[in-house]
Amino acid sequence: MSQTASIELQGVDKEYRRDDFKIPVLTGLDLTVAEGEFLALMGPSGSGKTTLLNLIAGLDRSTRGKVIVHGQDLGDLSEAEITRWRAHNVGFIFQTYNLIPVLTAFENVELPLLLTSLSKRKRRDNVMTALKVVGLKDREHHYPRQLSGGQEQRVAIARAIVTDPYLLVADEPTGDLDRTSAGEILDLLEQLNQEFQKTILMVTHDPLAAERASRTLHLDKGQLVDDKVREARVPAAS
């Protein structure tokens, strides 16, 4: 089965405006990501990695060019539509976990499900399944401050996967973690990619983290300058 394009960028420009001043960040970017790929995005600070991630995740809009994700041209969606689209299709993982401090692990994971019409019982089932995947079933009543950084990030991952989106975006997910915890998070992402066929886009500064990905992209001065396909880890076609 040939790989279907999961993400497609065609001639994407992104510039920020500050007063009358235009700051070009991405210029004429083309990119194709196959479904089920685990992509690492590297590059120096300020090169536009987060910006690119935001475009693909539907958080920001390109100045020029098309961003098509899973067959949907994001430029065609209104703001309300793109918000709903994110709820269904994208799971977010942040460097600083960004859990809601006043909610328990369970409630944090449940948050995206509140937007659905699922019954309370069904929500509970899904949350517990997600917590089980990340290995924190027994921590459902813990608040974020009662968890270690690695555990917080795992709760965040459970929150990202609980709605079963097909794209996960992770902006330096291991940036705040020690080696061991970082390793566990990467194991988990790898598992999500291979077992659950999630397409994953991960920004990282850590070459060891990038090793885990099936492909690594380098972004520099607004351009994708290097595109190494690691033959050994082509995703299993489903």
């Binding site: 995740a57 918000t83 709903r84 709820a87 942040f94 960004n98 809601i100 006043v102 995206p112």
Partner: protein
């Protein structure tokens, strides 16, 4: 409501700040309730008098004028009159109290037929009728001053040059929103005392021009009508009847009569409404500031919610709900709390005789509650709109 947990946790997130907001809301509303109730209660209790079918006759020139006691017999003869009594203000001082409580010279045989919202034990009423120096006082007046049936009640004349040595023969009771702090004594007993001083010539010079303070004056006459429809025609009939006498009358319903007293405080009422308005505005700032601070601390969190898929309307709702809950809690404590407290504790007792009774009417308490909800909505609106429209990427970029 599946979002309720999150909203409530946010309310409790900074307990001190929420408590301070709730406290300032409830204290201000509490005071506002007291001020507003003072007028609303007077309005309400005078309006409530409507159902008793009573009209009040007074001298057309006001209280200083004379209303001859001979008018009483003529009024009693008229069609539609069930009963009529003189109702003469005495205003004597009890012991060293500065503020006189309400004391009226009345007709013992008819007074409780006319003021039939009050109840007196039969034997006490009979005892009162038999004793010329007897009086019947309200339950709360008795409680305030520790008075019992059989106790003497000496009153020192203030407006009138006579002292009355009354003895308590009965205690009347009634609803807590009726005046339970009056004293009723025999009009004849009062009048005889006035006659005696007049004959002795004492003070007669100083009172020469003031016909209202001489003997033979009924003060006002309270008339109980047979039905509500006769009140208006009977009032005109009475006034027509006495139009060409020495002392023309002015007859009005008890409700209108009561409103005359409330209207005397008209300016005060406006002042209090202005103060109320100022309080609402300052509460808006207090609550708005608290909410704005809360939202500033949650910039990233709001961005995360929106990234996850929470739409603008939902974000707006979550924040407004939080603001309304905080302000509403203050409103419940301040307005309903004030009502509960005033129903439970007899505030009038501590007014030094200024208020015969005090309660917070339901419409005032509910207005207070509605005001608190309004303050919640209005104070939450700006922070909620800012948060709902804030940029997700900037919120996520912000270092925490």
């Amino acid at each position: 409501m599946k979002y309720f947990t999150y909203i409530l946790r946010n309310v409790r997130r900074n307990p001190i700040r929420s408590m301070l907001t709730i406290a300032s809301m409830s204290i201000s509303l509490f005071l506002m309730m007291i001020l507003l109730s003072f007028f609303a209660m007077n309005d309400e209790s005078t309006s409530a008098a409507r159902i008793y079918n009573r009209i009040v006759v007074m001298n057309a020139n006001g209280f200083a004028g004379m209303l001859p006691i001979s008018d009483l017999a003529q009024i009693r003869e008229m069609d539609g009159v069930l009963a009529a009594t003189p109702f003469s203000w005495y205003g004597g001082k009890y012991k060293d109290e500065q503020m006189p409580f309400a004391q009226f010279g009345i007709d013992a045989d008819t007074i409780f037929t006319i003021l039939d919202e009050y109840t007196v034990p039969k034997d006490q009423l009979e005892d009162f009728k038999k004793n010329k120096d007897g009086c019947i006082i309200g339950r709360k007046l008795a409680e305030d001053r520790n008075l019992k049936v059989g106790d003497p009640l000496p009153l020192k004349g203030d407006l009138f040059p006579v002292d009355l040595d009354l003895s308590i023969r009965g205690i009347y009771d009634g609803d807590i929103n009726r005046d339970l702090r009056m004293c009723f004594f025999h009009w004849e007993y009062f009048d005889e005392a006035l006659k005696r001083t007049a004959m002795a010539g004492a003070s007669s010079t100083s009172l020469a021009g003031d016909s209202g303070r001489r003997s033979g004056n009924a003060g006002t006459i309270f008339v109980k009508c047979k039905s509500a429809d006769v009140m208006a025609p009977l009032s005109s009939k009475i006034d027509d009847h006495f139009r060409n006498s020495d002392n023309p009358t002015r007859t009005q319903t008890e409700e209108a009569f009561g409103k005359m007293f409330v209207e005397m405080m008209g300016d005060l009422k406006n002042t209090i409404y202005w103060i109320g308005g100022a309080v609402v505005i300052s509460l808006l700032f207090v609550a708005g500031n608290a909410m704005a601070m809360a939202m500033r601390e949650r910039t990233t969190e709001v961005a995360v919610l929106k990234a996850i898929g929470f739409g603008k309307p939902l974000v707006l709702f979550l924040i407004l709900a939080e603001a309304v809950i905080v302000a509403g809690l203050g409103g419940v404590l301040g307005s309903l709390g004030c009502k509960a407290l005033c129903d439970f504790v007899d505030v009038a007792r501590y007014s030094g005789g200024f208020l015969p009774f005090f309660y917070v009417p339901w419409n005032i308490a509910l207005t207070g509650l509605a005001v608190s909800f309004f303050i919640g909505l209005a104070s939450g609106l700006a922070p909620a709109l800012l948060a709902a429209n804030s940029s997700v990427i900037n919120g996520l970029r912000k270092v925490v």
